[in-house]
């Protein structure tokens, strides 16, 4: 079930430190919901960042993600269905055990479809089930041999530019007066146009899912802002 969970950044707080992330419910939301947030560099290497809540797999409708710098962010998540002893499971199918007989996500090992029944539940029978340490990583198996076909997945990549936009607005405000004066500096106006084009560039890269290029623009924008403020 590739990308059946559709995340979106609903808002960014005024201090630009936190993004509020929501998601559109896929049709089947029964089970455990696990979500992770990452800052990604231009070589697509992830660094985990704080996301809250991160310990409640039930009934969560939004999360707060800690932002540091502008650039490429990734929200990944899975919804793993509850264990059903009467269900037919295929190899790599995953189940969520809600605490009655244990707690966590387990992946079916048998290479032929079968119904485990109560006595072969995920916790009691480790010959049939592998415990999954980090369920969010299941989202990355989509299209791979070990894809868990019964799991709803979502990987959402986005370029965020709140700090660059803030600095742009600040610079614009300070230049507003200068533009009215007779000795208005074209150099400063050029800087504004450069920054505006870079912000637009990040938006275009985001729209076109060209994330590494968007991330590089964000990093370079920091240099230009430093130069402006210097």
């Amino acid at each position: 079930m590739p990308n059946t969970i559709l995340f979106n950044v609903d808002s960014i707080t005024a201090d630009r430190q936190t993004a509020v992330v929501k998601y559109d419910d896929p049709a089947d939301t029964q089970g455990g919901l696990f979500v992770g947030a990452f800052k990604v560099n231009d070589e697509a290497e992830e660094t985990a960042i704080s996301i809250t809540p991160d310990d409640d797999p039930w009934n969560v409708t939004q999360w707060e993600v800690e932002l540091s710098v502008d650039g490429w962010y990734r929200i990944s998540g899975v919804i793993v269905p509850d264990f059903d002893p009467l269900e037919v499971y295929n190899q790599y199918d995953c189940v969520y055990s809600d605490g009655e007989n244990g707690f966590g996500v387990y992946r079916y090992k048998m290479n032929s479809p079968s119904t485990p029944g109560n006595e072969y539940g995920p916790v009691e029978f480790s010959n049939l089930w592998d415990f999954i340490e980090d369920p969010v990583r299941l989202a990355y198996n989509v299209g791979e041999e070990n894809e868990s076909a019964n799991v709803n997945c979502g990987i959402y990549d986005v370029i965020l530019s709140p700090n660059t936009e803030y600095e742009y607005a600040k610079y614009l405000a300070s230049l507003g007066k200068e533009v009215c004066s007779v000795d208005c500096s074209l150099e400063n106006l050029e800087m504004i146009i450069r920054l505006a084009t870079i912000i637009d560039g990040m938006t275009v890269r985001n729209d076109r899912s060209e994330m590494p290029a968007g991330e590089r623009l964000a990093r370079r924008a920091v240099n230009i802002i430093t130069q402006m403020n210097g």
Binding site: E190, R194, L195, G201, V204, R205, R208, L217
Partner: protein, 176 residues
């Protein structure tokens, strides 16, 4: 009666060659309109205030009040101002007519995004030169002007539609 209708461009195809016209107003069901009697015509508007070629309606209709229309590509890129006329003569004798303009700039917007994408890299370089992005600023300003004219047209239905067509042709020249 035409005020009750709500014809609009619902969607432009990703290849920018066709667009979908639709009307989601309740007028048709309330008045039990016979859809076979609706006539939809789309015509290009030329910059010199004359009407151009009638445009193909390639799918007629998809779903009662939804039509797929081909963006007229030659000799232009398909962007431009189009006249939309919708008429209906139902058996009850009531007659409605809608005559409006559509402002379509998908290719200009696509090319503008391409320019932004390329030139934003240039804006990061230390040997940035302002003249390199002049065309970008020109296209952006012209597009903004088209949007302003469109807004004003929708409010006042004045004849600035032809100015919009002129601007769209200038954008095409700059991009070329």
């Amino acid at each position: 009666m035409a005020d009750l209708l709500n014809w609009r461009v619902a969607e432009i195809a990703t290849d920018r060659k066709t667009f979908t016209l639709s009307d989601d107003s309740t007028y048709y069901t309330v008045n039990r309109v016979d859809f076979s009697q609706i006539e939809v015509i789309v015509v290009r508007r030329n910059w010199n205030q004359s009407l151009g070629q009638q445009v193909d309606i390639v799918q007629d209709p998809i779903d009662d009040t939804q039509y797929t229309v081909r963006l007229e590509g030659e000799p232009h890129n398909g962007d431009g101002v189009y006249k939309l006329a919708v008429s209906y003569t139902p058996s009850t004798g009531i007659w409605n007519d809608l005559d409006t303009s559509l402002f379509l700039t998908p290719t200009s917007e696509f090319e503008y995004s391409n320019m932004i994408s390329e030139l934003s890299e240039e804006c990061c370089s230390v040997d940035f030169r302002m003249d390199r992005i002049m065309n970008l600023l020109i296209v952006g300003s012209f597009l903004d002007s088209v949007y302003v004219i469109k807004d004003r047209y929708l409010q006042t239905s004045d004849f600035s539609v032809f100015e919009a067509e002129r601007l769209i042709r200038r954008i095409e020249s700059v991009i070329e």
